[in-house]
């Protein structure tokens, strides 16, 4: 469904060039939960930004349903690590912006937004301002916002990275529940191996910067719901960890 073909990205500046991505080609299947795993600063966020249309690749193409895309596309929505929730809008007003900017009528977009606010478990918080919401709740607003825009693909850039460990475990369960209820294609970026193995149908492991695909793991054999301590889970986790070669700078 989404074909990424030989995408590379270098950031040019007077003070020197930074190679973020060397050469990545990926095929994303419909409705799969794809996890991109890599160490910090390896370029995976840049890669996601390229798919989202926020950054232009230095070379390579991206095709959605056979047609090349450039720039932002209403079929692709994103959940940001810093949530990016607008402080001056209520939860409801934040969630509906995808539809609002596309000109959908108020009544209709409110209904849809309400549906997804309920889905992420924020029923009753429609009129709350972000300063009154916890980190996890703000991120759920971000997820509802992405779903409300009715995309084919949901990009998630380390969405649980800023949360404490326990909230993070809870949110991992939440995102799986939401995904099962409303199946979409999700491309999820993380640096946490357990998170990757818990969530992904497939895990693509990136090298350090400049990013290349190191290995692709097919986790379809692991049945859901996944236990984080089953022998199979631990074996795969071990295998991935062994393949991580991190040089401490």
């Amino acid at each position: 469904m989404l074909e990424v073909d030989h995408v590379a990205k270098t950031f040019f500046s007077d003070k020197g060039d930074t190679d973020a991505i060397e050469d990545i080609s990926i095929d994303v299947r419909e409705n799969e939960f794809l996890v991109l795993l890599g160490p910090g600063q390896c370029g995976k966020s840049t890669f996601l930004n390229i798919i989202a249309g926020l950054v232009k690749p230095t070379s390579g193409t991206i095709k959605l349903d056979g047609r090349a895309i450039s720039g932002t596309d209403q079929r692709i929505a994103m959940v940001f690590q810093k949530t990016g929730v607008y402080e001056w809008k209520t939860a409801m007003e934040n969630v509906e912006i995808g539809l609002k900017y596309r000109g959908v009528a108020k009544k209709e977009r409110r209904e849809i937004a309400q549906k997804y606010l309920d889905l992420v478990g924020l029923h009753g918080f429609e009129n709350a301002y972000p300063h009154a919401l916890s980190g996890g709740m703000k991120q759920r607003v971000g997820i509802a916002r992405a779903y409300t825009a009715n995309p084919e693909i949901l990009l998630m850039d380390e969405p649980f990275g800023a949360l404490d460990a326990q909230t993070r475990y809870a949110m991992e369960e939440e995102i799986l529940r939401i995904w099962e209820a409303e199946k979409r294609t999700i491309i999820f970026v993380t640096n946490n191996i357990e998170e990757a193995v818990t969530l992904g149908d497939r895990v693509i492991q990136f090298t350090e910067r400049p990013a290349k695909v190191k290995k692709v793991y097919d986790l379809s054999s692991l049945e859901r719901p996944r236990s984080q301590v089953s022998p199979e889970f631990l074996r795969i986790r071990q295998e991935i960890a062994a393949n991580e070669e991190l040089t401490l700078e």
Binding site: A8, F12, D14, D23, S59
Partner: protein, 278 residues
Amino acid sequence: MEMDYEKIRAEARTAEIKAIQKQKIKYLSISVIVILAVLLVWQLAVQFELVSTRFFDSPIAVIQRIIEKISSKKPDGGLLHQHIWASAKVVWFGFLLAAVIGIPLGLFMGWYHLCDRIIRPLFEIIRPIPSLAWIPIVILLLGIGVEARSVIIFTGCFVATVLNTYTGIRSTNQTLINVAKTCGASNFQTFVKIGIPSAMPMIFAGLKTSMGSAWGTIVAAEMLASSNGLGYMIQMGRSFGEVSLIMAGIIVIGILGFISSGLVSLVESVVLKWRPKK
């Protein structure tokens, strides 16, 4: 595949960097053209008498006036550098006095609750009174000499300095204070070694603000109660109907204000050399 990418990357690099340069040049040239156009229109408007010279004088005439004023005492009885010195003297005197008294006061008020508690009410009463409002009382008590004008500048700078110093030391990172306490430092040692350095950035921000307002105040004070100084010079230009003198004075004041702020910034960059360049 490797070879291809090298070439693509090199091409993309030159293209991107060229595009950025083009943008920078475009906007810079717009700015330059606008400024030159304004000066040109101004000059021509006066030259071809589209505006009366009673109200306007050309840029060239103004610059000539500045140069002339360096050696001529007309019409107000003073040379340019005498006026500059008279104004600058008062500004720096009042400013430094405010710094010398205000910074320690702000530091003590911010660190020691008792100090804050005792001084605060009186300070809050004095605070909203603009410095120029003190002129009648100051004239009564001190006449219209350099001391009087310095005191007026002082009142303005003092409030801003104390407030910024107070805010600066109050926002000292609690973690740093805790570190000092666990190392056995006394309250006073923590105050000197941690509180004061933490407050430095805000102190300098306050000094820059008060320097800016000092120049504004001195101009007004000189117009009201002085016989020399740049404010007085501009006022004389008005009285004698010499527009070029007024404009010359405005430009000189602007430049001096700019230089003074720059000096404070310079001191700041030396004192605060641990700060990352923004």
